[in-house]
Symmetry: C2
Subunit: 228 residues, 2 copies
């Protein structure tokens, strides 16, 4: 299965600006991408990076540590338009990308799912065996990962996209399977999310955080992080 | 499988005090308990409520709407001591509760897992088929639900209990299976958690929140809630 991985290469992860400086956020985002690409390959998928800008040459090594040289496309449009163009290209042959339509399902997995494992992604990839669309909701109502096995479905990432995607599928007569996964629900956007990486992650992203001085901290409520 | 459901009946859910008054928090906590008990029964489990105080008669109807009259025990001790006493009673026959030890696994499911479905709990209950301990981690490193199928394991809910429980199991020579579920990872503790109930819940808790005027609100980052 081909798996699109949208990646915002310019000024990524702004909501981590309280704990990481701009250069660190770039390095951190690319390290997460690397973990995601590795997990996709290990789950049997073929990743294709949809990047908002081309990867700077001096940093390209960071992006290809996992699977060697993953294919990619630069698309400067917003997320929804870029993903739908890629889905058009793969699923209906109407796109401008020169792709050939096929009946194979196509995945879309966000680049900041640093907790994703081959097992979790395998559940996602297998969920379209009995549904037209499989969705792994993100915490807060986003759509962190999905697989599309029908040409009648398109994405809309604005707002509470998990609920919107269910409505879009229903309107298109497509069946939906919810993939219930904490690992896939956890996109790493905010400082509290870093604790999840330190608790559950065993890839390059967890190593990166530990090298940068982050550690778990038990405060009044849930566990957070401190930086030494 | 018998499933212990620890329930803090006095002054519950203090971290929701910004959005719910004390009486509302009591009613809300009991509504969540009701949803959890219903899901356990529908998953084939036999719930046993471990409550910190006896249920006030005039509110008992709220607690028994799901399964009729679930059996329960009042234990005023802190969570860890109360759960370990109940596990002792069931798994090794050393407890003072008068129970009889058996070789059946025992579950422990928190009373605030308002998103729990029979499917998610079924994955948890089935996970001890190939492990001594099955754990569904909570967001922030807690242990939201577990099943114990060995007399050598006891709980410790302080700190990052998910990691502690893995260590305790390893030290006891017990195998552990992680149950990767967003629904079981989402304990409803803080205002942002209420959005998860409105997005994913289809039980009494979601109805209660809507009746109380809560609705989803898209702010700058993730989706939250507003109260009208």
């Amino acid at each position: 299965m081909e798996v699109l991985v949208p990646f915002s290469a310019d000024r990524p992860k702004s909501r981590l600006s309280d704990v990481l400086d701009p250069d660190e956020r770039v390095a951190f985002a690319r390290t997460m991408l690397d973990d995601v690409l590795t997990a996709i390959v290990d789950a049997g998928g073929r990743p294709h990076v949809l990047s908002t800008t081309s990867i700077e040459p001096d940093r390209q090594d960071a992006i290809v540590r996992g699977p060697p040289d993953p294919p990619g496309t630069v698309d400067t449009r917003p997320l929804t338009a870029a993903v739908n163009a890629a889905l058009d290209d793969r699923l209906s042959g109407n796109g401008s990308g020169g792709g050939t339509a096929s009946s194979d399902p196509v995945g879309v997995v966000m680049a900041d799912l640093a907790l994703a494992t081959p097992e979790a992604l395998g559940r996602l990839f297998g969920a379209v065996d009995d549904a037209d669309v499989a969705i792994a909701p993100g915490r807060g109502g986003g759509t962190n990962a999905l697989v599309v096995d029908t040409s009648s479905f398109r994405v809309d990432y604005h707002g509470v996209s998990y609920l919107d995607h269910r409505r879009i599928a229903t309107a298109a007569g497509a069946t939906v399977h919810e993939v219930d996964s904490h690992r896939l629900a956890t996109d790493i956007d905010e400082p509290d999310d870093l604790a999840e990486v330190l608790i559950h992650g065993d890839g390059a992203t967890a190593d990166w955080l530990r090298d940068a001085g982050f550690d778990l901290a038990t405060t009044g409520g849930r566990v957070g992080v401190v930086r030494e």
